[in-house]
């Protein structure tokens, strides 16, 4: 089977890989590239655990072909912290215990970061609607929503 050669950018680094034509971006990230931060909860677009950004647009990596990464820029959870310095959202999730098992957390963080980049001052219902595609089996969402709102408030103050 002919593999496709893809040149892309992942977390700011130029990257080349070979993929099968039908391979999902999620399988490519987790398998070939060993970036296992993005999770597979469903493989069908329902849970958001596989969330990444593609040219700054939030998408499910399970519903994207790896081949589609050609010439694009991808951001995954592995690129969220700056070295040892956590992103304010990551820090706040730890402080406020906005996670339990943690399976949904990478997707939630990527989605929340994308929200705050577009809307630094979201209302609670804007946060809930934006994150409606990120399912969490553990927290009951309240802690997640509060951590996002709290981070937004702190980021506005320090901006």
């Amino acid at each position: 089977m002919a593999k496709l050669h893809v040149s892309t950018t992942i977390n700011g680094e130029p990257m080349e890989f070979l993929c099968e034509p039908h391979e999902s971006m999620l399988d490519l990230l987790r398998g070939v590239l060993g970036l296992t931060g993005s999770k597979e909860g469903c493989g069908s677009g329902d849970c958001g655990a596989c969330s990444i950004t593609l040219d700054d647009r939030l998408v499910c990596s399970c519903l994207m072909l790896a081949a589609e990464a050609e010439g694009k820029s991808i951001a995954t959870i592995e690129g969220m912290a700056q070295g040892e310095r956590l992103h304010p959202l990551q820090q706040k999730f730890l402080e406020m215990a906005a996670l339990q098992c943690g399976i949904c957390t990478p997707g939630v963080l990527i989605a929340a970061k994308s929200l705050l980049e577009r809307n630094p001052d979201p209302t609670e219902s804007e946060v809930r609607y934006w994150l409606a595609g990120n399912l969490c089996r553990c927290t009951g969402y309240d802690k997640i929503v509060r951590a996002v709102l709290e981070t937004a408030a702190e980021m506005r103050e320090s901006a």
Binding site: S44, G45, L63, A111, A132
Partner: protein, 289 residues
């Protein structure tokens, strides 16, 4: 898995050529939010995937000289929402498109994919029908234009012939005093499939309806244009009798299925209720233009 190919042509001619040559073995890829789910479930097994998102005509929104809009078939819901003018002119179409899935799904899902997937419950379809949108289709024998309501042929089927690709939607210019709205009924508040969906578009002159169109989804094998409902509204001042007559026309058009989301009786009743509510919202928006 047999050999499968992925193509991302830069021109429509190339895409149509490859699609026609593959003779039924190929599938068009827009946002992939239906296609990739179907491939994973094994219900779609394409030998070739033709990604149309490198073709600029497919991914752009243009305001036409006469004040209408041309929306590329592969434009995502998120991109439509970010357009500075589209949502002001066609708020009902935009709210219908933006109801499709989560933020993540919105980043990819297109109105073209929603229509070509052929689901009777596709949310953008009743609103596009109400808007009087026309699709441009290109195939091996050239281009043609048909109204949106002529595209669905049954669950999962369209009237597109082999090798034909949906290129764009054209929405007509909007006369003063026009408004549109889309409402759907779902058992949850987000992330679910419509039990009933109603799109209404109308134009008011001194309080009298001079033009109206109604699209009805999820209650028949295809999304429907309900001319009877529009005719009941046209010429009226949206008095109770006229709106009830339009609701009755919607109920009469229903040929729904019974399933876990809604019984036949429930779907029919809700079709009338949503027609009334969507009409009120469209009229309110028309008054504000």
């Amino acid at each position: 898995m047999t050999d499968i190919r992925y193509l991302a042509p830069r021109t429509l001619e190339e895409a149509v050529g490859a699609f026609a040559a593959a003779a039924g073995a190929a599938r068009i890829l827009a946002g992939g939010t239906d296609l990739l789910v179907q491939m994973r479930a094994g219900s779609a097994r394409p030998g070739m995937i033709i990604d149309i998102k490198q073709i600029s005509e497919m991914t752009s929104i243009e305001e036409t000289a006469d004040g209408g809009f041309r929306i590329g078939a592969a434009v995502s819901g998120a991109v439509m929402a970010e357009h500075p003018r589209f949502g002001q002119v066609w708020p009902g179409v935009l709210e219908a498109v933006n109801l499709i899935g989560s933020t993540q799904v919105q980043g990819r899902a297109s109105a073209g994919g929603n229509l070509c997937n052929g689901s009777p419950a596709g949310d953008s379809v009743p609103a596009m029908i109400a808007a009087g949108a026309v699709v441009t289709i290109q195939g091996p024998n050239g281009r043609r234009q048909i109204p949106v309501e002529a595209v669905p042929a049954g669950p999962g089927r369209t009237t597109l012939t082999p090798g034909e690709i949906l290129v764009s939607f054209t929405l007509p210019p909007r006369p003063k005093g026009s408004g549109d709205a889309y409402l759907r009924m779902i058992p949850r508040t987000e992330m679910d499939i419509a039990v009933v969906g109603v799109g209404v578009s109308l134009t008011l002159e001194n309080g009298t309806v001079t033009a109206a169109r109604v699209g009805l989804g999820a209650v028949a094998p295809t999304v429907l244009l309900v001319a009877g409902a529009a005719n009941a509204l046209i010429g009226s001042k949206l008095d109770d009798a006229a709106v009830e007559a339009a609701a009755a026309a919607c109920r009469a058009a229903c040929r729904p299925i019974d399933d876990k989301r809604g019984t036949i009786v429930y779907r029919i009743k809700v079709a009338g209720v949503l027609l009334k509510r969507a009409t009120a919202i469209a009229a309110d928006r028309a008054g504000k233009v």
